[in-house]
């Protein structure tokens, strides 16, 4: 039986369908999770997808963080369930304090939709094991509040513990220390502002390619689940 990857839909979530598509593309069984669900339907991993949950009103992810489905996710994440928060999902994970720091408005105050180059700094997580250490990947960003911030102590700790998952090679929004993604200490919870699920085929992926640099996020988790 294939690994079950759950994708949560909050009101205002936009990238759930694409996350489900990416999960299916690597041979996992995509499972829809609804924000009102009180259990996780035996999924083996969870993706909190991008979008504007609750319009991103108040703060990105601030209201979604209190959805019923977040209680079982927070508990399971503390027990090691693999969780990937993409864009708005990353913001939800920060609001839920599963990850440190916070996201604020981009440097130029604009929404930015651009294909950016990332350097994968930590390939020891269940979500990045299929990347070579230091590998570069072209992956789209599309966000308004994508600028990662945290106090210096936290940033130093993230660096020291090797928990900076990915950095921008050209910082698009002023993110602290070029950080595009981080993981928790255990490495099962990962937050990433760019959208790997939109870099899974050459037809719709970044142009001019490569269009598939996002796939390893999904092949990585699949392998770790199957071998687990």
């Amino acid at each position: 039986m294939p690994a079950r990857i759950g994708v949560v839909t909050f009101p205002g979530t936009l990238d759930d369908q694409q996350a489900l598509r990416a999960a299916a593309a690597v041979g996992a069984e995509p499972v829809k999770l609804w924000h009102r669900d009180k259990n996780l339907h035996q999924v083996d991993a969870v993706v909190l997808p991008g979008g504007f949950s609750y319009g991103d009103y108040l703060r990105a992810g601030a209201i979604a963080r209190f959805s019923p489905v977040m209680d079982p996710i927070i508990d399971a994440a503390r027990d090691g369930l693999p969780v990937l928060g993409i864009c708005n999902g990353f913001q939800v994970l920060c609001e839920a304090h599963l990850l440190e720091g916070a996201m604020i408005r981009n440097g130029d105050l604009h929404f930015i939709n651009r294909d950016v180059k990332l350097r994968i700094e930590n390939n020891r997580t269940v979500w990045t094991s299929d990347y070579e250490a230091g590998a570069e990947a072209v992956i789209p960003i599309k966000n308004m509040d994508g600028r990662f911030v945290a106090d210096e102590r936290t940033l130093d700790a993230l660096e020291a513990e090797g928990r900076v998952l990915a950095r921008y090679t050209a910082n698009p929004n002023g993110a602290a220390r070029d950080i595009a993604g981080i993981s928790n200490a255990a490495g099962n919870v990962v937050g990433l502002m760019p959208h790997p699920e939109y870099a899974i085929d050459d037809l719709t992926g970044p142009y001019p390619g490569p269009g598939t640099d996002g796939l390893p996020f999904f092949t990585s988790i699949l392998k770790s689940l199957v071998s687990a």
């Binding site: 609750y54 319009g55 009103y57 108040l58 209201i63 209190f66």
Partner: protein, 93 residues
């Protein structure tokens, strides 16, 4: 150095989706006494020019021109003394 506050709120008749989202969220978190929420912006300005008289006018001009969108928003200027205690207030409404 002088400090001035400019508080910008949507005019009462203008729809406030942000405030409404907060208003709908609070009861779900057990705060059911809330009957209305409006969300606005607050600007803390530091200026070199310290003369309170011109200060308020200057800040009001900034609000008119940039800080507030007076087509849909009202603003309120509060001049703080260096200590930060409220001093004098000007409204545009």
């Amino acid at each position: 150095m002088a400090r001035v506050l400019v508080d910008v709120m949507l005019k009462p008749e203008i729809l406030d989706p942000q405030g409404q989202a907060v208003q709908r969220a609070l009861p779900r978190m057990g705060f059911d006494s809330v009957t209305n929420v409006r969300q606005g912006k607050r600007f803390e300005l530091e200026l070199e020019d310290a003369d309170p008289a011109t200060l308020k006018a200057t800040a009001a001009a900034m609000a008119e021109k940039l800080l507030a969108n007076t087509v849909i928003e009202d603003f309120e200027v509060t001049v703080l003394t260096a200590g930060g205690a409220p001093a004098d207030t000007a409204e545009n409404a």
